[in-house]
Symmetry: C2
Subunit: 510 residues, 2 copies
């Protein structure tokens, strides 16, 4: 009776209270700090290789570098996994077969980065010349040399494209394996490694790679190491992602640029036409006014709703940090709002601004719309809703440059290019193998681990379900203020080393 009471008490403590870190976690943490020079030096070399879609040579070099990283670590069966379409950046694969292990974990990160516009980076920063700062630039961090004594501080940052999205994922996974191996620890699972090269392009050929290499990629769980930890700095585990697709819109006016004096008032202005169209898509409360936009949404399950309620609120902190007074979608907090589909203007342009502005009526105006999707949405159906709305605003919709005949026939002409898309995905947090991941991550920290039903960002997770019948769970490591997808991308040093511990603990889960 006493024993049973004690057992119940332990269970209660494990479930409800602050947990101590496991011995494995502590060993991995020690390995990281003792090998900081080697880890950062390799990371820095890795970050120096351009990894953007417009630079296929850089992409190849990046993939080769990862191959070498794995081979150095004794990871077996390393290979590039090509798509069936030629000239596609390959995925990089490797594996560690553990004698006696019956199940397999496969660790995912991606090595490609978002496109860069170097002119938008802060003075002194270059996307592919990693630099160390004493803090975030926005927190008055200053540029310092990489320390020779390996004494890295948690708040320091490395600035470079891919530093946090997602070369840090590759580095955390491979160093976590190093830490386990060098500590003589034996995982309970076979470990596989899969590093994608087209994630930032929307993974257009991942389906081919998964299908072609289906048997090699069999596993019991995919651990996706991408995205940021919770804004509070707490670790989090994410069970789903929003889907994403894009529409490129171009509104046409005069065939040639016009002098704004000689024709202003008379000739249509494409910027104004586009502004009126975009305005019509959302109301003043941030709600999308496109017909049926919020239909199709699969509601959260009771356990997901409960997890969402337990996520610490960051609204006031984030408003202060971002310098905004109000949110776009009235009445919802950040985590509630990412559980709805969104429509965002990624970019828009007509003519020139700043030093290059000229007194003209431009020939066209362009906007790129980003449509995020949640479970239940279909990306092609969501695009169609937007296109139908554009038509209700009096536009003639084409997918090519308008012909002279079309120009003479229609007052409002728009070219709409439908980009590819991916649907949303959500894994049940009640599955036994998922519960093991939760426990492993909890044993690396004395703090709460946040459980997010859905991340706002997008990973092509539905493809793993579709082509491999796989289960996925996301274990992110990057700091939330990492400027991923924009200029001045950076990783916080503390997040990198803590990330190695998190991933290592998952590798060792029981």
């Amino acid at each position: 009776m006493k024993k049973s009471f004690f057992f119940l008490l332990v269970c209660f403590l494990i479930k409800q209270s602050v947990l101590a870190q496991s011995p494995e976690a502590l060993k991995i943490r020690k390995y990281g700090s003792e090998n900081a020079i080697k880890i950062i030096s390799e990371f820095s070399e890795f970050l120096s290789i351009p990894n953007v879609a417009s630079d296929p040579i850089g992409q190849q070099k990046t993939a080769s570098f990862i191959m070498e990283m794995m081979q150095k670590r004794g990871i077996q069966n390393t290979q590039l996994l090509n798509a069936t379409t030629p000239n596609v950046p390959p995925a990089v694969y490797g594996e560690v077969i553990v004698p006696g292990a019956k199940q397999t974990l496969i660790f995912y990160a991606h090595y490609d980065g978002q496109p860069v516009n170097p002119t938008q980076w802060a003075a002194g920063l270059e996307p592919f010349n990693p630099k160390l700062f004493t803090n975030a630039l926005t927190k008055n961090g200053i540029d310092i040399p990489f320390p020779k004594d390996g004494n890295y501080q948690d708040d320091w940052r490395i600035y470079a494209r891919g530093a946090s999205d997602d070369k840090d994922g590759v580095v955390a996974i491979l160093n976590a394996y190093d830490a386990i191996k060098k500590n003589g620890l034996t995982p309970n699972y076979n470990l596989k490694f899969f590093f994608e090269g087209e994630e930032e392009a929307g993974s257009p050929h991942l389906n081919e790679i998964l299908e072609k290499h289906k048997s090699l990629l069999q596993s019991n769980l995919w651990i996706i190491c991408d995205g940021p930890v919770h804004q509070s700095g707490k670790k989090q585990i994410v069970f789903g992602v929003r889907g994403d697709t894009h529409l490129d819109l171009t509104v046409f006016a005069s065939k040639r640029p016009l002098h704004s004096g000689h024709y202003g008032n008379w000739a249509p202005n494409p910027g104004l036409m586009l502004a009126k169209l975009l305005s019509s898509m959302k109301d003043e409360k941030g709600k999308v006014t496109i017909k049926g936009f919020y239909d199709d949404v699969t509601p959260l399950s009771p356990s997901e709703r409960k997890a969402l309620d337990e996520v610490p609120s960051v609204d006031e902190q984030m408003k202060l940090e971002l310098g905004i007074n109000d949110v776009e979608m009235q009445g919802l907090n950040l985590f509630e709002s990412v559980n709805l589909p969104s429509l965002n203007i990624n970019g828009m342009q007509s003519g020139n601004v700043g030093k290059m502005v000229s007194n003209q009526i431009p020939t066209n105006a362009t906007a790129v719309l980003d449509l995020r999707l949640v479970l239940g949405n279909d990306w092609e159906r969501q695009q169609q809703k937007v296109i139908d709305h554009i038509k209700t605003q009096g536009f003639y919709v084409t997918d090519k440059e308008p012909t002279d005949e079309e120009r003479s026939k229609y007052a409002k002409i728009i070219k709409v290019i439908r980009e590819d898309g991916v649907n949303a995905q959500r894994t049940s947090m009640d599955l036994p193998i998922i519960q093991k991941v939760i426990t492993a991550v909890k044993l690396t920290t004395n703090d709460q681990v946040v459980l997010q039903p859905t991340n706002g960002g997008t990973l092509p997770l539905f493809l793993f379900e579709k082509y491999l019948k796989a289960i996925t769970v996301t274990v992110p490591i990057a700091n939330h203020d990492n400027n991923q997808h924009a200029e001045n991308e950076n990783i916080r040093i503390g997040n990198l080393f803590d990330g190695i511990v998190t991933i290592g603990a998952v590798m060792m889960m029981r």
Copy 2:
């Protein structure tokens, strides 16, 4: 009786019908075609010198080149006229004193060009490497070498920044003087020459130059050689210009760029905020909805209204040429609509589009508004109306980057930079000296000469009235489809040579 009838008949023919060209006009025309190689070669060298505000060295070289052009032609008292503010592109001055002449004509053109974005120019074209084409690019013109036999065709075009706005004006004026001199003709007026270097920047120091050199610049009439002829190809004389000013708008959202997945729906999008603001400024019929926008306008006089009615309509021709189905301002033809103030979006930008697009919520969105003014408008008052409107849309207006305190206090923040401006100007077409200009130009063509009360474009003509009590009239020569102020600027060869005749005839007016 018979004699009087004959006289009336002549008057009737002169007023109503096609006139024969004057002997002077024919001599000047002959000089142009016989000296085409020399004229174009010098023009081409002139066009090779960068003449944009961002290149002060190029501007200096351009001014020196004009000095040499004048000295070669025996024009006297050549000098650079500086402003009182240092480091301002000078005006270039010269004069020809005619023995016995009691009155003075002063010929104006400007040598600076609009800013260039070379990447927007057509393949094979560079702003400062003039090239000859067999026709407009839009009419399938092809690149040909400059002919060694000097046999230039009227429809050929030279492509370069400043080719038509307004280095052609400098070249037409100086070669018109050459043609007169080499033909042994003696003008009835002293001739002065004044070439400005800051017109495309809005002539911010022209007031200083006019005031400082007031006595040197005394004259009975300023002949402004800038802008295009009528869209029908007919010559025109223009009696006024619209004024112009600008507002640079920047709407602020998050202090740092945000991942559109993690924050889309929650964080405000600056592009959407700007789109809603711009949309609110005009209705669907192209009418500006800003309070009082059309107040202050001085109505046209009866003779101006009559002249406007006689201007050939070009609406259908222009719609076809420009590939547009409808006009912005409903119910007005082109020339009526430029007799009203306008609000035009010269450029707008938020984030990136095209290859550089990334999945972000940008930090800000910018637009440059161009406000054209007519007689009666005051540029600062017109700016204020727009700013007052922006406030009615809920914006907090600042002229600096917002502080953290402002960011935490206001949901909608906009930075508005008020650029300098110039007011509109209109000269009465009934003045005797103006009637002489009209007669001189009519004697260079067998076709109608269009009389325009107001040009849509802007020249700082009110400054000549204000500082010199001067009278101005505009005699343009460039083809209307010259892409001035934009990429692929060009001059039609026929317009250049006919322009020399027009200007020469005005120099010889009686």
